[in-house]
Amino acid sequence: MARHVSNSRKAVVTALAWGIGLLIFFPILWTILTSFKTEGEAINSHPSFLFFDWTLENYHTVNERSDYLGHFWNSVVIAVGSTLVGLLIAIPAAWSMAFVPGKRTKDLLMWMLSTKMMPAVGVLVPIYLLARDTGLLDTKLGLVIVLTLVNLPIIVWMLYTYFKEIPGEILEAARMDGASLGSEILYVLTPMAVPGIASTLLLNVILAWNESFWTLNLTAANSAPLTAFIASYSSPEGLFYAKLSAASTMAIAPILILGWFSQKQLVRGLTFGAVK
């Protein structure tokens, strides 16, 4: 239903909304702009907003000197890997809870959620020691395992809320027609569940990409993803604003773009279906 609002009021609200929106976005915008400046321009005491000599030099330098691509690749492997393994484990579980609910399904769901409530720092020491003793410290595999487990409850929950919306009668009809469990999943459930699975995948890649407790504590040089790579810039000798900005821009750009596609799923996934 269209609401009737005078144009003058709409203009005021628009100006206000754009002003606040730009203010909130400003640190990101400023980082992107600085990434195209020279180092001298970046720390100029009279900073210029747009009128400077644009250069791509920082992007070249960051790539050459600090193996940006290597860290980028680590992030991709860790974020996508942990999400895919998580989906592999979670899809059957969510399927069975959504379509063959038992007496204890609700308790089970709540218990899974409760594992997510455990603060990471509570298990930091044992996980660190276990990773060290099994040779998984500072490996991509180690982080894939940890992040899979960290995000598994969210993956199960998201899938569960999506699967719940698929009408169960369709599955029963297929079953009556003699479809086996395997073909039921493959031909009936999968096509209806793909959008939900895709949203879950998207949100979890974002969460895993930005995860900054385990990635910082369990990696050193070899498998450091972008979170740890950027954190290494906090040491004084690495303080070159323009290069820092270029590295930051490259680290956040892919996820910023993915994130904008996933606004709706974000609400649902992070509130465990409590707000839709």
């Binding site: 990471a120 660190y128 509130t271």
Partner: protein, 290 residues
Amino acid sequence: MATQASRTASRLMLSPAVVLLFLWMIVPLGMTIYFSLLRFNLLMPGTEEFTGFENYFYFFTDPAFWPALVNTLTLVLGVLVITVVGGVALAVLLDQPVWGQGIVRILVIAPFFVMPSVSALVWKNMLMNPVNGLFAAIARGLGLEPIDFFAEAPLASIIVIVAWQWLPFATLILLTALQSLDREQMDAAEMDGAGPIRRFVHLTVPHLTRAITVVVLIQTIFLLSVFAEILVTTNGGPGTASTTLTFLVYMQSMLQFDVGLGSAGGIVAVILANIVAIFLMRMIGKNLEA
């Protein structure tokens, strides 16, 4: 009706997730509890011995403990107040007809997708740095003395950074909740002569209560674990001015290698988080029935 066969199948499909999560929960937590009862320092291997609750005694009497607890609560409460109040205001604003609404929404949501180490570094160096930062340049431009944010107000500075990251989350959830508000009820109230403030207090706020509760609880879970922002900006300092419980445990176990003491702190953090979690679980559990 589920058949016996499909029940068995469903149990089989469920078990990997359940077993893995069970192990993930019980093994490390059991180890933490066990370590917390030992004298156990990685720098002195072979000297482990059972000491009962000694580590807890040392943790609670550590001069950093009370500041860390107070800092943790300040950080969580500070961020919650900013994000909830700001989030409600922004949600109400973005719920109005606006030209280019989609783009404004994208601008507002963006900070949530920035990884914590990046946002901490950007704020620390490019905005808040007392010499080269933009805020310092603006202050000089206005003829004011630039502020050394992380020396003078370290915790407040971290609160600002973390609030900037979480404001989009609160806004997005509150906006989603707001959009399910019955528009006709709103129009009816307007026709009955209720002004914008009365409509906000009597219709909007009650409608948002549930979403606000969810925002508060979920953010609390995440805020108790804020780590990268502190590591990158202040390293907990100066002194203990910005050390939180999470950061204190990190320092004790990863920097001082005192596994026993760090584990005791970890257990304290778990208990603290569980108090919040109980409330959150009730909320979500209720929704599951609805």
